[in-house]
Symmetry: C2
């Protein structure tokens, strides 16, 4: 069994995750965007996790967890629930590890995410986001099969794996003899930003870390302000299909309330403009949820980031052609 | 004055170009495409020059030439004619060098290329591809202004600059202790493939180099077969707007007939499929002309590349949203 530690991952656990990922995950490029720098009057770097295996950072956490399973656990397979990016990541890691994966995905997820998960050889179970509980469906599969659940964000090894994004940001800026003034990270369950914040703050204690969320799904921003885990309104809507979790995790909030410096919210219109910007100027395909940090930078109305060295994480690039075509036109 | 050498660039000239480009051009990622590898039953790497400054490899040659101009030459500015990618590159390098650029572009070039050239501060002169001679227009500007012409491909320094793509491929494969069996390169005027071939063959003499051209613009393939410089039919059409030069250069052909191992031709339909493939699986924006080498790999009907280690250069990513949206849908 995986050790169900209630302790929180620390920097050394992220370093250990990076060692496990070496040769399996891609070290993704950090792109100095001269065009975004000009727009923002800042020095802007884009961490392109869109170019990670399966098109999002989720490969890192999934690999870090699954690679530590025992042979007995692997023989029984893995289960995950996901809006689509974690789904593809778990499916791909299971394929690499030659083990069975069953993935619970909402039926209204982008087709590219559902199809890609199937292409990686996983069994896909669709559910109705309005009526069904994905946690219950996954728990029932675990009960029946003995498979191991791979949680999308609220798990020691998932957070440590995602934190390797932060380690790479540190390494890639150190080559330039720079430290960032701010790092902006897309946020929903909070695993990516929690792990990234641990890695960044350990190395650059003065760097500010900001979560970025879509309007209506600003539970992290409100939780940071109130000090309690807040939830989103059940009728909220956003094009950011990857960021629709109703509330951030317990472990992730324990980390984020300690390490984050604030939460920023962006509109769907701002997100689409950021997708178009990344297409036009950086030739990168970024999905709506993956573009929120760039959107926050490009819409920095109060000039919070002017004159600063800023990193925006582009967390994923899995978007249906029609959605992408509409955003860039 | 630039030395108008009629000698051909050699490996040492490409190494010198790489030194000039250091800190100015991006070292672009070489992406191991597990999906393309599965489709082709090969080990496929994609050299993503789409992520170069200005969205194509052309930045390299333009920088290598312009950075060697004397202060007196720089004071008089530069002139270029181009279907759009060389245009943006010269405009951007001129902007970085704080010198004036005048660029001659066909009026039917993609809007993204014309607009981006203007955004980099260049003066744009549009011409009618069917009626006007771009060489004559550029020569007249040179006569009037004393500006230096920056040739798009048939120049010692342009070829040497583009060759740094090949040097990076060598370095990036050596890290993996690999040498490629084949390298596929988009080809029109032939500067990119000429420089790349010099760098690759110097380091990996057994690697085969193939030009890839759109159907109807296979002048390099036919020239390699006949041993003479062939031209394309005047009524030929292709969506690959970057690859419509009617015949390859004199310098480039002198190099290419010695170093290339063959020419491959792809259809517009195959090109659009490759653009969609890069979008779906690698989250990269690739323009039609930039996707021909990948198209050749994905349509390897005779299994020429099966079982081999193959690099395909993605040479550019400047494509209008409507064209891109149609290709990926």
């Amino acid at each position: 069994m995986i050790d169900q530690r209630i302790s929180l991952p620390e920097h050394e656990n992220i370093v250990a995750a990076a060692r496990r990922l070496e040769g399996f995950a891609r070290v993704t490029p950090m792109i100095e965007s001269t065009t975004a720098s000009a727009v923002c009057n800042a020095w802007v770097f884009l961490k392109a996790e869109t170019l990670q295996h399966t098109g999002s950072f989720k490969f890192r956490g999934a690999f870090n967890l699954i690679s530590q399973l025992s042979p007995e656990q692997k023989a029984l397979g893995v289960v995950a629930y996901s809006s689509g990016n974690h789904a593809q990541a778990v499916a791909k890691v299971a394929q690499l590890s030659k083990i069975k994966a069953t993935i619970v995905i909402p039926s209204d997820a982008p087709q590219i995410k559902i199809q890609s998960t199937k292409n990686f050889g996983a069994e896909v179970v669709l559910y109705d986001r309005a009526k069904d509980s994905r946690e219950d469906i996954a728990a029932s599969i675990v009960d029946d099969s003995g498979a191991t659940l791979v949680p999308p964000y609220d798990h020691f090894d998932t957070i440590a794996g995602q934190g390797t994004v932060g380690l790479e940001i540190v390494d890639q800026l150190r080559v330039l003899n720079q430290s960032p003034d701010a790092v902006l990270v897309p946020c929903s369950g909070g695993g990516l930003i929690a792990g990234t914040a641990i890695a960044i703050k350990q190395n650059f204690p003065d760097t500010e870390i900001f979560s970025v969320e879509p309007e209506g799904f600003d539970d992290t921003a409100r939780s940071l302000a109130s000090g309690e885990r807040e939830t989103t309104a059940p009728n909220a809507k956003s094009i950011c299909d990857a960021l629709l979790v109703p509330t951030l995790g317990q472990l992730t909030f324990s980390i984020n309330k300690r390490l984050l410096d604030g939460g920023i919210t962006v509109t769907d219109t701002e997100v689409k403009k950021a997708m178009r910007f990344a297409y036009m100027h950086e030739k990168l395909v970024v999905e709506p949820g993956g573009a929120v940090a760039l959107a926050a930078l490009l819409n920095d109305k109060n000039n919070v980031f002017a004159g600063k060295t800023v990193v925006a994480v582009l967390s994923g690039g899995n978007v249906d052609p029609a959605t992408f075509g509409a955003a860039i036109s």
